[in-house]
Symmetry: C2
Subunit: 235 residues, 2 copies
């Protein structure tokens, strides 16, 4: 069995393979927000790629989260800060979500064998499930507008490290070999390690340091969101 990583939704067709579990990664902040939402009782999240689709759902009275370039899009209920998805206003609800990167990655991989959502918030539960699932794994980093980004890579390295420490069933593809080393440099203090990363700088400029700190905190939930019939649900 193999574990590999892809650094851009645009490259997914190159990595696409049968019988592969795809883990969608968008640490700052879509996949962190999605894990948080399910931990706080959201029933379903419908990911959509475009703001136009999000508008259609808004007209139909859905709760809609929409983010572009790190900011909430005007006219919607919230952006993609995990803190927006905590509390009674989301409990039992279906939420529609569109973001700059994460929902594009879900769209790219939606026909894969299984598509699940990963973040530091659910990393331990995710790795346990991936090992039990016993299939090839592709870690699909959402990146930033189809470019490599550091925080998604560090998380993919953390998953690679965790899985290869706990199981010897998986061969590491070249990207995962590199990521495992990267994570070993980062794990002492991921927040500090990411200081010069482009997206952390972008969010710091937007006064979102608390978001970053929360998104880098491991094991806040045991939920694993999975994509089924066009929507994310709790596994």
């Amino acid at each position: 069995m193999k574990i590999d990583a892809c650094f851009s939704p645009h490259l997914y067709p190159v990595y696409k393979a049968d019988d592969t579990v795809v883990v969608i990664i968008d640490i700052l902040r879509a996949t962190s927000a999605i894990c948080t939402a399910f931990e706080h009782g959201v029933e379903k999240i419908i990911p959509v790629a475009t703001v136009e689709e999000a508008h259609e759902y808004k007209h139909k009275k859905y709760l809609v989260g929409a983010e572009r370039n790190g900011l909430p899009v005007e006219g919607f209920d919230f952006g993609n800060s995990p803190f927006n998805y905590m509390g009674d206003h989301v409990k039992g609800k279906t939420i529609v979500l569109t973001t700059t990167n994460g929902t594009q990655a879900i769209e790219a991989a939606k026909d894969a064998y299984k598509v699940v959502i990963g973040s530091f918030l659910n990393i331990d539960a995710l790795c346990s499930w991936l090992i039990k699932e016993d299939k090839n794994i592709l870690l699909l980093c959402s990146g930033w507008k189809n470019k490599f980004n550091l925080e998604d890579a560090v998380f993919a390295g953390a998953v690679t490290d965790e899985i290869s420490n706990r199981s010897d069933k998986f061969n590491l593809g070249d990207a995962c070999l590199a990521l495992k080393y990267l994570y070993q440099m980062a794990k002492e203090n991921p927040n500090k390690f990411l200081t010069h990363s482009s997206h952390k700088e972008r969010l710091s400029a937007l006064n979102l340091k608390e978001d970053v700190r929360y998104c880098l905190t491991p094991n806040q939930t045991k939920v694993i969101p999975i994509y089924r019939d066009g929507a994310l649900v709790k596994m």
Copy 2:
């Protein structure tokens, strides 16, 4: 000014920018072979993307190198081993070259401001020139069939490390931040570091360990091949 890295020719359109010097990287073995050829007096290399184009040149009596999946293609003069490009049989000649990955990367980036060829064999000369050139730099890794590969990434990390040690003019993009760390893990013994990389395993299986060792040896030449009017020439 910025230095960034792209891990697949397929992603080049995402990274494409004006006024950027693109460094083509295919350590095992196309860009190592190209640097070797110019060091041994080749006058011009015409890179072509397909075996069909290479055949057309062969009919016109050109010397043609053609490689697919690590092996020379039957009916041509040589494959892409650097050892094929040493000696009097290449001196003063124009050679046509097609390879699995490297010539695809050249094809992708051919309209960039400047396109040059990088390998461990010319790394010192290359970095000195890049610093003097004073433009944005994109390190374009050829990878393996559009997937990330470890040896191209390690070389891109070496260039990043060298340039950022010698000049403070360049900001590092996220990929280069990661690669700089990767190179710090690899530099003690790149050959050993690459032991489990997919392409090194592929070449070892083909009895090409000597090729690998040579391709990882720094500073065998000061030539910097540059792409001009459809062909590579010595700068």
